[in-house]
Assembly symmetry: C2
Homo-oligomer: 115 residues x 2
């Protein structure tokens, strides 16, 4: 759910989208892309959240910009991008960013808490 | 919904969280923070998506790292962060990143489409 990423710097691709009403095949395409991206060189993980009103944010993490760029050109992914433009999305924005600092926190399990 | 951000570079703060079951007051605190952040110097916008299973991603955008860092120290925000750790979240990860490239797309309105 929350990706365990290495020490920065590494690359984040922030994909924010607004879905169209054309949903046929979307879930399958998304599942295929999540399966495929895991096999890509330089892939570190991804986080995704979708609100019921059709707003989605998916952030994928990569060892560097080159590996993120290579994923953009993978054949099946290109086809999915076309389906996204033709049918699934009303709008999106992709931002490529270099993570420079991070901080993770998790609640300790009950037996490690003081109270 | 999708922030209109300027030409890169600018700063993105990616906040990924898993909610606890303690939800009392969360919506109000979140609404107060979204109202307050809009008044902060250097704030460019934010995008947020929350899945019904408690996973949330909020990305806020800033003109630079200094303005993002300043928001971290605003009194009311510090209090909200404490409430987050004490009650609202089970885990989170914050990543500070420099956006180096972006691409926006939106479906043209029907009267501008060819078909």
């Amino acid at each position: 759910v929350i990706s365990v990423t290495p020490e920065p710097p590494y690359t984040a691709v922030i994909f924010t989208s607004v879905r169209s009403t054309d949903t046929a095949g979307y879930d399958q395409t998304a599942a295929e892309m999540f399966a495929l991206v895991e096999t890509q060189p330089g892939y570190l993980g991804a986080e995704s959240a979708h609100t019921t009103d059709g707003v989605g944010i998916t952030v994928s993490y990569w060892v560097d910009e080159a590996s993120a760029r290579a994923w953009r050109s993978v054949l099946e992914h290109v086809a999915a991008q076309h389906a996204g433009i033709d049918r699934f999305y009303r709008a999106y924005r992709v931002r490529v960013a270099t993570v420079v600092r991070e901080h993770a926190w998790a609640k300790p399990p009950p037996d490690q808490q003081l109270t």
